[in-house]
Amino acid sequence: MSNVLNKAQTPHLSIRPAPGWQALNVRELWQFRDLLITLAGRDVKLRYRQTALGVLWVVMQPLLAAGIFSFVFGKVAKLPSDGVPYFLFAYAGLLGWTAFANTLGKASTCLVQNSHLVSKVFFPRLVLPLSTVFSTMIDFSVAFVMLLVMMASYHIAPHLGLLLLPVWLALLVMLAVGVGLYAAALTVSYRDVQYVMPVLLQFLLYASPVSYAVSAVPPHWRHLYFLNPLSGLLEAFRWSVLGHGAVPWGSVAYAAVLALAVFLMGAFAFKKMERRFADVI
């Protein structure tokens, strides 16, 4: 009896070659949640080690970028900001953009940067790109508190739309992780991806309503403009924060479907390529 019980309790692991597409093993991911959190914690701790200003950089980076944008686009180019102070307008846009860009940037390089782990230890490889989301969230929270402080100083009251902010944020991050998964898996074989990503991000930054409002885009270009899922999401994001403009529901729905599809495709493609990582990296 005790033997039977023992056998039932002993975890049994069976290893077989498994070609082709595989199901996502969510249970296995859950078992490795401690590793996920520890890796995320490592990234956060490391980022500002041996810096004088430390965590202040989390706020300084978007503040400085917002300052530059409001000078270049607000003062010099005199683009419209839908009546909101340009600085606040740019900061709100950057908040959403940074969440997207940082997640994508970190997720796409995570495998190569942790190649010593990939080739020496077993863990579900998805842990690495997923762990990047945590540090993005921490950055976002700090920068978001800063936003609330600035809104108070500009006498702008938060409105109900703020409740939808987590939805836009989730969609942005999901899209970023989806693309990031694909990029990370490709980088294992082709390091070129590392050089393409910054260029792609630069392009996307200017092709999305971060530093300017959608109203600055000529109407006949709008259809093309909203093909970029970030356009709809960032507009909605800014609407939630500042209460100006309107949510472009059509584009948001399109972006949501696209984000989900990209995420799932990325995850499955990652799983498919995963088994070669340790041999190639």
């Binding site: 975890p11 049994h12 692991l13 701790k45 490391l46 010593h116 230890v121 077993f122 390091r191 070129d192």
Partner: protein
């Protein structure tokens, strides 16, 4: 053996790697694209290399099994497949129990993080939960002896402290099946002893351990049985002493002095200068087995081919006992022999050892070739030497084999008081 006693079962395991030849290996997308454009239907020359081929074995619960074999025999690949880092090409593996693997000491240690942070990080990477690490935290710190430096970034640690901490974390893993690669080859001698002691505790705690090492002393110390891999195939699986004997004699029996064979004994840094090596008796005949106390000559032939010739060739010899460690070593530098008629493009170096004072047993020999102060080539364990027990004292009795590795020539005296 009933199936419930088995903890590791491997059936027909194979792992192949594809090696692409010519310009068919692309590291950039552009190269790959360009190649695709030029040859839309690629017929690349690919060679399949089998790192493991049709390996099958069963390991019962609680066994400590050594995995031995030459460089490139497939030991590390086997461990990587067993610990799920890479997928097998064919075959089935069943593991009954929680698996922990340690292929490298200090995996994921980050120099900027403190000792404390690295314990949690490394623990998590090796598969421990936070609660488990917290439980063992004090024991880990104690084992590593780094209390005062817990909050110092490990980049400021001495290399010894670093290795100690890294091993300490790994040593407190508590899986039912433990997979360990050559990890004892770190740290100073004292710490190595401590590690070996810890490994023995693990071995005696009823866990199943798979242990790869080139250190036959450690293997015979820890393991009850051994697996010998040769060219990716399982050659022998049996009691440790038997398999180690086979491993060491396999190297010398029926050997052709082919370069390909020699290459397997060469560390990665070595230049392939030694073309053959052998053991000779006092008559100049090639032998692998000698009586206790005979004269033994070690000979190596070198050829620099198109490389620079050797101005002052240097030969070094290290004799290792199969299980007890280094028996002795000597080189031309320390005994002040200098070949001065050079430079030499090719040549033969011989080392005559008079009345070799080694006890009966199995030994392997490392040969070194250098030029002046520089080491150029090395064959580790290529030659193996068997010493037969012989009636050296002329008494009808032979020295005890368990009396170490040196044979003594005593002169006794008794003085009544």
């Amino acid at each position: 053996m009933s199936s419930s006693d088995i903890s590791v079962s491997v059936r027909g395991l194979s792992k192949s790697y594809t090696i692409a030849h010519d310009a068919t290996q692309h590291t950039t997308v552009a190269e790959a694209l360009l190649h695709r454009l030029k040859k839309p239907l690629p017929r690349t020359q690919k060679e399949t290399f089998w790192a493991l081929r049709d390996v099958s074995f069963d390991i019962p619960h609680g066994d400590v099994v050594g995995i031995i074999g030459r460089n490139g025999a497939g030991k590390s690949t086997l461990l990587k497949v067993l610990s799920r880092i890479t997928e097998p090409t064919a075959g089935e593996i069943d593991l009954y129990g929680r698996v922990g693997s340690l292929l490298e000491v200090g995996t994921g240690f980050h120099p900027e993080l403190t000792g404390r942070e690295n314990i949690y990080l490394n623990g998590a990477i090796l598969g421990m939960g936070r609660r488990e690490i917290r439980k063992h935290f004090d024991a880990i710190v104690d084992f590593a002896g780094v209390e005062q430096f817990l909050d110092t970034p490990v980049k400021r640690y001495s290399s010894g402290m670093y290795v100690r901490l890294a091993f300490a974390v790994a040593a407190h893993l508590e899986p039912e099946i433990m997979i360990v690669d050559e990890v004892l080859a770190v740290g100073d001698t004292e710490f190595q002893k401590k590690c070996l002691g810890k490994m023995q505790d693990v071995a005696h705690s009823g866990r199943t351990v798979l242990f790869v090492s080139h250190n036959m002393a450690a293997v015979s110390n820890l393991c009850s049985s051994c697996i010998l891999l040769q060219g990716g195939q399982l050659s022998h699986y049996g009691p440790t002493e038997e398999v180690i004997d086979r491993y060491l004699t396999a190297a010398s029996h029926g050997r052709q002095n082919t370069n390909a064979l020699i290459q397997g004994f060469r560390p990665s840094w070595a230049r392939p200068l030694i073309t053959s090596a052998r053991l000779l008796d006092s008559q100049g005949q090639e032998q692998i087995s000698f009586s206790l106390g005979s004269d033994v000559t070690l000979e190596l032939t070198f050829d620099t081919q198109n490389g620079p010739e050797l101005k002052a060739p240097v030969m070094g010899v290290i004799i290792n006992h199969a299980t007890l460690g280094i028996a002795g070593g000597v080189n031309t530098r320390m005994s002040d022999f200098w070949a001065t008629d050079g430079p030499y493009g090719t040549g033969i170096l011989r080392c005559h050892l008079k009345r070799l004072p080694l006890l009966q047993g199995q030994y392997s020999i490392d040969l070194w070739l250098g030029d002046g102060p520089v080491d150029l080539d090395c064959l580790t364990g290529y030659l193996s030497l068997h010493i037969e027990d012989t009636d050296v004292y002329g008494t009808g009795r032979t020295p005890f084999a368990h009396m170490g590795m040196v044979y003594l020539e005593p002169q006794w005296q008794m003085v009544a008081l």
